[in-house]
Symmetry: none
Subunit: 218 residues, 4 copies
DNA sequence: GATGAATGAGATTTCATTCAT
DNA sequence: AATGAATGAAATCTCATTCAT
């Protein structure tokens, strides 16, 4: 009844839209990463965000829209983190190494972002799978370019034993898989992880471009 | 319209339990692989199986049980397919190569089995994720054993640049990732895919055990 | 393949219909008494009876029919047990006492029968509630007759303080309630239980017919 | 057709939670009392309440929770009604009489409450049966205390012919049974019903504490 | 006479989404 | 700007009941 009582309750304080959107996206990433797209409920997200459900719909649209916004934000973050670590004037192997380090640093620091991108995004099907697959394809082609550029410098073309894109696909997958493995081994630094990948892949690749080829002995 | 069509509709025929169970599992794998665990509905599965829902519950139990049965059947299939291809008296690299070929052959032939195992099983969480993770861990350790056995023959121990389990994790992940990639490139034979992996990994690994080490040049 | 193998399996031995019906009814009483009408399932009943479900439907009809058959059989048992204990040439109080003893003996010996009749039959509604209520009404009127016959012998009519049927209703209810109580106190003999009821009721009733009347003092 | 009918349909009006909860509980008591716990459907309850099913789950929880809420509300009502009628400074017989009157008044006025408590609550089994049995036990011990206090004033102890708790159990059961009987005889006032119970029981009990004992004459 | 196979119908429960204030 | 109130639609699962052999 007094004048002070007339301002709205603590929780309902009017915040600028951008702040609210960030709150909601943070909560959504957290919940989606825990339960996956389908098992996550808008109720839980609104609870975690400290915001009512209609607000989510007003600001970010449907559940699918919301998930899309999460995916895009986290993907952007990841790509920016990697790009920030890469110095384009270095030789290809060092570029790769720096990129990998940044990647493993990101995964360690933003587990939830990584989980959403890697594990949950593919299960939704339809547009998202495509989006993620696209992003992955871009990453793969980036790596492939790196690899091929190194290769062509030494005069190696596309052959039966060698496919830039295919190798890049497995490289990216291997790196991701090692990232998952590293989530359970947090004491291993990003530098060591990146070195493992380089040793596994670069040396092998180096042999390839030197003309060495493994063939079935039979 | 033909004479055969005049017998009672397929659906009503009384078939022995084992046959129905196979039908149901086939349908379930198909539907789970398309939509994932949560988005798949028992209604759709029963439709695809040509069987009423109660039969599913009578024969295979709850949705979770059904999913578990799918996972286990497909995992067994996959492992058997790989083991059938491996000849234990060959040298490690040939064992690996044959294993990979069998793997890629299986993935090409049973896309849905692979999708369920690779993409969908992890999203359920709880017991299944654990089961799959376990199976993957077994595969990783198998590979690690192969790799390490080759390594120790040449006197290479665990070092900072080298971790059997970590490398195996990335190798398995890389192989899986290449399998996914190959789903979109069906013209590439399993032999070629396996060779790529071998060239990427074995040569690289070979260098490692010869003492070559990649190090950041900076 | 040998000749012995051609007789039907143990369970399917052809038994005369009356035996099968008894088996089924026994099982049904057991299951209904445990779970009540609605929570009992035909599956459980057929399991307990060691008989397939279609057999139940063939011999005893629908679930409702089956329940009805149970109720009628157990009610008949109860009434016969009571009548067997009563000797019609004794004075009213001794008749009542003997009836009560037989009743408590029956309840102790056939807990399940009693449970079905007392607790479960009323929850079904419709025809059964009516049937049970009827049976109870007959018991009440029987007791009422006893009471009234004793009363009229002494010249006591229906008054405000006295209603044969009402009193009988509460008497029967009290006896039933004591039976329930006795289920948790199995060391108390039927004779003692019957005596309690007589002391509680008969003395009071005796006073009534002697002209004593309790009235609110206010 | 009248002007009032032109406002939006009753169902869509936004009412405060407390009001809706009351509506739902009222409907639930009605439906549970008609069909029993198992045969009652949430659909019918939501229809009767004029509310959609999700509201019921949001406000009152599962079907079992809802039933529990009904039981507790009605039990509280009943106990309060009885306690409101009892005056603790009166002699034991008058306390009993007033308690009985209040009880019969309540049963007449809230038939459905009584039905749910008396007939339906026991059939659910588990926690509710226990809860109801408990409440009944409290009532029984209350009466037992009354009876025994009157008895000990006259120096009557526990004997073979007399068990406070057993007698109280049958007294309570008799009172309940008379209540059921009275439901079909609505012209009989609560005062008369209470008097019947007093005449039946109190006189008998009075005899007991005076030393009179009924014994089988055989 | 006896049963394994099969299902229609309906139960409880949850969720994304929207009104009305 | 913000939310409590409200729901349509659909999910999983169970049960009484009947065919076909």
């Amino acid at each position: 009844m007094s004048e002070e009582d007339q301002r709205p309750p603590e929780r309902a304080r009017r915040l600028p839209r951008a702040v609210r959107e960030r709150q909601i996206l943070d909560a959504a990433v957290q919940v989606f990463s825990r339960h996956g797209y389908h098992a996550a409920s808008m109720d839980e997200i609104s609870d975690v965000a400290g915001v009512s459900k209609p607000m989510i719909y007003t600001y970010l649209g449907s559940k699918e829209d919301l998930f899309g916004a999460c995916i895009r934000r986290e993907a952007t973050r990841l790509l920016e983190a990697i790009q920030a670590g890469v110095q384009p004037d270095l030789p290809p192997d060092m570029q790769l190494w720096h990129g990998l380090r940044s990647f493993y640093r990101f995964v360690a620091e933003y587990r939830e972002s990584w989980t959403v991108l890697h594990r949950q995004a593919l299960t939704v099907g339809g547009a998202f799978a495509a989006e993620i697959t696209d992003m992955r394809a871009r990453a793969i082609q980036l790596v492939a370019a790196l690899v091929v550029s190194a290769g062509t410098r030494k005069g190696v073309g596309e052959q039966a034993e060698f496919s830039g894109e295919g190798l890049a696909a497995s490289l990216v997958g291997g790196a991701e898989s090692l990232a998952d493995w590293a989530l359970d081994h947090p004491d291993i630094s990003d530098g060591v992880l990146a070195s493992w990948m380089m040793n596994l892949v670069w040396l092998g690749f180096n042999d390839l471009i030197e003309g060495a080829v493994w063939k079935p002995s039979e």
